[in-house]
Amino acid sequence: MSEHQAENDQALVARAIEGARAAGAAQADAVLVRSDSREVKVRGEEIEFVKQADERCLGIRTLFAQEGGLSTALTSTCDLAEEAIDRMAAESVALAKATAPDPHAGLPEGGFAEDLPDLNLIDEGDRNATVEARIEDARSAETAARSADERINNSEGSQAGSDFSKIIYQNSEGFSGQYASAYHSLFSEPLASDGAGKQRDYWMTVGRRIADLDDPGEVGRKAAERALRRLGARPVATCEVPVIFDDMTAPSLLGQLAGCLSGYSIYRESSFLSGSMGESIAAPGIRVIDDGRLPGGLGSKPFDGEGLPTRRNVLVDEGRLESWLLDTYSARKLGLASTGNASRGAGSGPGVGATNLWIEAGEGTLEEIIRDTERGLLVTELIGMGFNPTTGDYSRGASGLWIEAGQISHPVEEITIAGNFGEMLREIDAVGSELVWRGRIAAPPLRVARMTVAGQS
């Protein structure tokens, strides 16, 4: 990005705030998100698509003073002509006048990020990586997957993507900041088939720098291995057994937990964990941490969506609930202070989001946990959205590997696993040692002592 462009972006953000103030806003903030991305897919021998995009979008939040508090509105526009920005700033104020005053609404009362550390979120040299180079990465993964075994004879393809983005944020209380970041990925999804049927699976690698990605051939081979091991999968009879979540499925449990710890679901009392602060909510060995400043982290950022510094928060320690995830609004509703977890996009207002969230690794590899399981299920993929955060009721479609006498015996599919999420957290009786980051949320393999597996009668 040129210096001229950077200055121009900064000026547009400032213009949005000035426009809002001129239209009568008591407070305002604005964020401009610029993204430059390319995405390629190779399937078999052929390039399937090449996509390139350069996007900018500006979000404006205005707060209007009324009797009883501030009222809030949000507008966004991808049209960044000055007239469009002026119009959206004015419309935002007009909208804010129509919504109700809320004594808890408003920007943070100070405490904005002062140091903006370089969190190693981008390697500027990666901008020179050509589309051709990413096509070669995808092609290497695809070739490795396709040649892994003669039963791999088709695929959905292998995809590589690079996205460079810049966040420019400013508010009427004097804070302004910006940071650049990158996200690179490589994904491969082969099909395996034999007389019994066909199966797909995938493997992926992601990182802030291209150099952090795994070898493309390794990604393709691993994806092929995972598809092959599903061949011959069948349901099991309905039973209650220990269920092991591998390091690909365990993060989904943590993602659900994060939703139940969001300040918004706490003040609305729509989380089954409302009222559980300080109580034991998980097995004693469980420690959950959210840290927005991990160098190179996929969820790292120097300041949050309201300009507050990101930080390290221990959410669960020794199984005991220690902290919610909060932005300024939800914190005020609960009489607390923000935890620096405001998330913000151009088109969405501040809400709560985890940054880099993980469960601390325990002892013992996945293999050791399997050996220690007499009879049970290793879940390698989950489908559906069968989780109710208000009651904790949990029921999802699953596929994976069946364990007999501490050994993998055969692949399984067309089954569900069900239980109550609160009980599941307390009944985690093994935490693995492998912690791999494939997104903003990571968890090692986890074993839940007992769940209902539904299959054939």
Partner: protein, 487 residues
């Protein structure tokens, strides 16, 4: 340029909007397509979009948020064989369209020129969703008043109601599509939706109830008291019902699905697996099965984008092909796929009007519109009383499918035990899982009560969300796996 584009109001309205606001006219679009065609490509198209979306939401008795989003841009696609190049820009101008065209055509490494384009226009009859007032033009004060009224009413229904959340979302989308085969099409697509969610409490137990409705019609319809009161009544009824729900059984059992929204079964079990891309690549559990029996006799499933005012309906798809009614399964036999242009062409078939995209920032994919099963002759009450023991599921949350293995899930949000042919205790939400290619072979009874859902469905594929509809008459299915906790 010699043609008259589509004769209906929606098409003309969108064409003049892009011409007057952005100077995008037939000759400039032909020029952009010409740029895309400067190398040897088989096909190119350009897609302009201008969308406004508004939302107003209420919680804790006050309307806390109002928002308005303006999304605009142009996407250009060039295609050579199976290869596609796509570039988009958020600036609507001929300069940015030509720049994107230059990027998109880079997928072709061969020189040559496909020659000039002459746009011909694709006429489609009538407008499936005319509105006098764009829903985004309705003053925000009226939306605020509606939500306040819903809040007061829902709280008055029962003291167990602790929290009411309601929102009204309106969208006004204008699109213009032109392609190298001469297609010129445009549309104006209104979309409205009203959501009501309540939390009810009884002692320590808390439960949620939700009901929503929407479609491509005037916002005024959602403001009619009969409509919004029914949503509040339903949300409160379901939340109270769930306060008394018992654990759901686990295992394989007879399942009766109620009419309407449980049609999500068809969407997951059948619809996705019949999308043209998966079948062209032979990655679907339904690949190479045209002409085979995939459902019981009497089962006919269609995807119909032409139902007036429905959420899943479209005058034209996002490649300019008019929508139509496509029969997928006829009396139990697989007879058709859902196609966009690319996959239809590669399979030597006709596009079916199912090439859809979330926005100008996305490439079109074969997608469903409104997918439903035609009614049979059975009385729904007889179907229920024919089951000695099983599950009766009348409302669902989301679903998902593994296209290749055919395994699909959908999660019940309102379900009851069936005992001796009678509706018994309500059960906690549970996921149902089955195998797409054979679940419909076990449909044993089909009711005469087809309903299309109330207009709240969004389908996700490759990170793109599009509005869809589903429908079903009451059906009885022998043996479906129910993911409860009671063994």
């Amino acid at each position: 340029m010699s043609s008259t584009p589509g004769s209906d109001g929606a098409s003309q309205q969108a064409l003049s909007f892009f011409r007057e606001r952005f100077g995008v006219d037939e000759s400039s679009v032909e020029a952009a397509l010409g740029t895309a065609l400067e190398r040897r490509v088989d096909y190119a198209d350009v897609y302009f979009e201008y969308t406004t979306q508004d939302s107003v939401s209420l919680e804790e008795g006050i309307v806390k948020d109002g928002s308005r989003h303006l999304d605009q841009g142009v996407g250009v696609r060039a295609q050579s064989g199976e290869r596609q190049g796509y570039a988009h820009s958020d600036e609507i101008s001929m300069d940015s369209a030509c720049l994107a065209a230059g990027t998109a055509r880079a997928i072709s490494d061969q020189g040559g020129n496909a020659g000039p384009v002459a746009l011909a226009g694709s006429a489609h009859d009538g407008n499936l969703y005319p509105v006098e007032i764009a829903p985004t033009d309705v003053p925000v004060e009226r939306k605020v008043a509606l939500l306040d009224e819903i809040d007061r009413y829902a709280r008055s229904l029962d003291p167990c109601v602790k929290q009411v959340m309601a929102s009204v979302i309106t969208q006004h989308r204008q699109i213009l599509i032109a392609s190298s085969d001469g297609t010129l099409a445009a549309d104006v697509q209104p979309l409205v939706r009203l959501n009501v969610q309540v939390i009810a409490a009884d002692g320590d137990r808390r439960e949620i109830g939700y009901e929503g409705m929407g479609g491509r019609y005037e916002l005024g319809r959602l403001m009619e008291a009969d409509n919004w009161k029914r949503l509040a009544d339903e949300a409160v009824r379901v939340a109270k019902l769930n306060l008394g729900s018992v654990a759901c059984p686990a295992g394989s059992m007879k399942v009766v699905l109620g009419p309407g929204w449980p049609g999500i079964l068809l969407h997951e079990a059948i619809g996705h697996g019949l999308e043209g891309d998966f079948n062209r690549k032979k990655t679907s559990a339904f690949s190479d099965r045209l002409g085979e029996r995939v459902a019981a006799e009497g089962v006919t499933v269609v995807d119909d984008g032409t139902l007036p005012e429905r959420r899943g309906s479209i005058n034209v798809d996002d490649e300019g092909t008019p929508s139509r009614r496509n029969v997928l399964i006829e009396n139990g036999v697989l007879v058709g796929y859902l196609h966009d242009r690319l996959n239809a062409g590669l399979m030597g078939m006709e596009p079916t009007g199912n090439g859809r995209r979330e926005s100008y920032a996305h490439m079109p994919l074969p997608r469903m519109t409104n997918t439903f099963m035609l009614p049979g002759e059975d009385d729904p009450a007889d179907i229920l009383s024919s089951v000695d023991r099983g599950l009766y599921a009348v409302s669902f949350g989301g679903g998902q499918v593994d296209i290749t293995s055919g395994k699909f899930v959908f999660s019940a949000s309102e379900a009851y035990l069936i005992e001796d042919g009678k509706i018994g205790a309500p059960v906690k939400g549970a996921t149902l899982i089955g195998n797409g290619p054979d679940v419909l072979t076990r449909v044993s009874r089909i009711g005469n009560d087809l309903e299309i859902d109330r207009g709240v469905g969004t389908c996700g594929k490759d990170g793109q969300g599009v509005p869809v509809g589903v429908g079903l008459p009451t059906v009885r299915i022998e043996d479906l796996t129910v993911g409860g906790t009671e063994g």
